[in-house]
């Protein structure tokens, strides 16, 4: 039942990461590529690369039938979806199951259930997990008005079929809530094909805290500590840390317990992350959503636990149980990850594809770089602009900040603009060093300061 040949249905740095994890387990690898990714690092490292279709993701990585057809025809008995793309589309594990391919992830019904944010909230409520004060489905503008008054302003109107920060409207008064209802419905239908809305209290100074989980499908769930992902721009994470030192030990323990209780209550299988909003002023955390997949920022949890999460994913998908007990997991030190993108942070973060003409990456005992890029490689215009993830691990947060600052100073990329200089500005900022940040800090404080200094 253990997987012998793994199909990797993704690209870029995560495809490379999964190939490496499979190789460490002596599993053969077949990686899906589009026409634009034939020379990718993952394609070169894998035992075989299969060209699904042209560069456009819709005609290659996003077509579940092409992906499963390729996996089946190349004799793969396992498939890892990575993150993004089809990783949370239940049709993929369903097609895999039809063709005898073990999907590296949760059951399709679980993916569906957690993808419905209202259902996920109900699951959390049933498991005793605190929710953001909010509503169930709001059916009319009049409901929007009355619910908003009950919850207290400001409120966030959200799409049940949404997620990842999309499809949200803020209302600061009952009038705005009523007016916002129609707009939010239209946007939700357009973006997700489903106009179902609900409402949550809006917390102006919040931190985004999430817990890394791994379940065996029988109710046993491990946690690998929490991550603080509060440096964000337009709901996209730029920097993630583990642990969240802004939370005291007692609160942190309750957070882990809540996340584990939720996953255990649904017999969650494989890797997942429970995301929470941490209201620093009230010292309360509230459940937001569960991401039923491995996440971009998993390396910081691996750093503090010394545990390879992707290998464990593959083992569990092959029928193994959890390979460690919670009491044996020791979380130590502090890790920080910077997501380096090919974007010009001084020109509205315009994605800037192109060829890398110089690549001088930092290295060292405490430095990890998850990247598919190298000198001469192309950042193509068809996908995201991620260059790589730079991770450091030190004994304390202060030490990790020093390590990250040094690593960024020693990272030289030419040929495309990158966000290296932005990350340097962030980690050296007094607010970041003093850990006075929140999810709107980057957009409200640092970026405007940077613009003023440049002018």
């Amino acid at each position: 039942m253990a997987i012998k040949r793994l199909f990797i249905a993704n690209r870029g740095e995560i495809a490379l990461r999964i190939v490496r994890a499979a190789q460490a387990l002596n599993i053969e690898t077949v990686v899906a590529v589009s026409d634009a990714d034939r020379e990718s690092a993952a394609a070169k490292l894998a035992d075989r690369a299969i060209i699904l279709g042209p560069a456009a993701a819709a005609k290659s990585y996003l077509d579940p039938r092409l992906v499963v057809h390729a996996a089946r025809e190349t004799g793969c008995d396992g498939l890892h979806p990575g993150y993004g793309f089809l990783s949370e589309r239940a049709i993929l594990p369903r097609l895999c199951a039809e063709h005898g391919i073990a999907f590296v992830g949760p059951e399709p019904d679980m993916i569906d259930a957690l993808g419905d944010k209202l259902r996920a909230r109900a699951m959390a409520r049933d498991a005793g997990v605190p929710l953001v004060p909010g509503s169930d489905c709001i059916a009319t503008a009049a409901d929007a008005r009355s619910e908003a008054k009950r919850i207290g302003f400001p409120v966030l109107i959200k799409a049940s079929a949404g997620g990842g920060g999309r499809g949200m409207v803020i209302a600061n008064s009952a009038d705005e809530a009523e007016a916002g209802f129609d707009r939010a419905t239209a946007e939700a239908v357009a973006a997700f094909g489903d106009g179902t809305l609900f409402m949550e209290r809006f917390v102006p100074e919040a931190r985004h805290v999430e817990v890394q989980l791994m379940g065996d499908g029988t109710g046993k769930v491990l946690h690998f500590g929490e991550r603080d992902c509060s440096v964000q721009r337009r709901y996209q994470k730029l920097i993630e840390e583990a642990p969240c030192v802004a939370m005291g030990d007692e609160l942190r323990a309750r957070l882990h317990q809540s996340a584990v209780a939720l996953a255990a209550s649904v017999n969650y299988r494989n890797a997942g992350t429970a995301e929470f909003l941490f209201d620093v002023m009230r010292q309360e955390f509230y459940f937001i959503e569960v991401n039923a997949r491995i996440q971009v920022e998993h390396p910081v949890s691996e750093a503090i636990s010394g545990f390879d999460l992707v290998q464990e994913q593959i083992r569990i998908a092959g029928g193994a149980g959890l390979s460690v007990r919670q009491e044996d997991l020791k979380l130590a030190g502090h890790a920080i990850e910077c997501r380096i993108n090919a974007e010009d942070s001084r020109r509205d973060f315009m994605p800037s594809p192109g060829r890398i003409t110089r690549w001088d990456a930092p290295s060292g005992d405490h430095v990890r770089l998850d990247s598919h890029m190298s000198e001469g490689a192309m950042i193509s215009p068809f996908y995201d602009s991620m260059i790589g993830k730079l991770i450091v691990h030190g004994e304390s947060r202060d030490r990790a900040i020093e390590l990250m600052s040094d690593a960024l100073d020693n990272f030289h990329i030419e040929g495309v603009p990158t966000t290296i200089d932005l990350h340097r500005d962030i980690v050296n900022h007094p607010d970041f060093r003093a850990n006075r940040i929140h999810t709107r800090w980057l957009e409200q404080v640092l970026l405007p300061e940077r613009e003023r200094n440049a002018a």
């Binding site: 035992d47 075989r48 690369a49 092409l66 025809e73």
Partner: protein, 166 residues
């Protein structure tokens, strides 16, 4: 065998070898010998024969098929057979799928070698999870060679047919 038939045979040999799982192949026929290797290092066969001809790697590096249960590293393969006539046009697969030469099992293939094909004619099917898409000729021509095996999986961009322009 005429020289153009010979060229065609070599071209088909190159293509078929590239897509087989064979690592190395030495063909000796009369005073013609060709040694084909799918990886840069080569091995023992080199010692046996005095003369070797490496398959010239083409510009694009495309991953090489796996042989059954063995796994090998991806290497360059010949994307367009080197010895086809200058006016040959290669029809490639628009996406990955299973290549079928006939509309259904047991039926006559859409086209055979030397057939005259008109622009817009259906020349094969590509099947993905039971969904069949017909590939149509983009311009008219005579079918020179069939480059993929009926019922085999083909990848996006993989050569299927060589057509000669009129």
């Amino acid at each position: 065998m005429t020289s153009s038939e010979f060229e065609r045979s070599v071209a088909v040999l190159l293509t078929e070898f590239s897509r087989s799982g064979i690592a190395e192949l030495n063909v000796l026929s009369g005073d013609f010998e060709i040694y084909l290797s799918s990886h840069a290092g080569g091995t023992g066969l080199r010692q046996r024969s005095g003369k070797q001809l490496m398959v010239p790697p083409r510009a694009e590096q495309v991953a090489h098929p796996m042989a059954g249960e063995t796994s090998r590293k991806p290497t360059a393969i010949v994307h367009e057979p080197a010895n086809f006539p200058a006016n040959a046009r290669i029809v490639t697969a628009p996406n990955l799928g299973t290549f079928y030469r006939a509309p259904k099992p047991g039926a006559e293939p859409y086209v055979e070698v030397d057939a005259m094909i008109a622009e817009g004619d259906e020349i094969c099917l590509i099947e993905v999870m039971k969904l069949f898409t017909a590939v149509r000729a983009e311009a008219s021509g005579r079918l020179y060679a069939i480059l993929a095996e009926d019922g085999s999986m083909v990848e996006a961009g993989q050569p299927l047919f060589a057509l000669l322009d009129d």
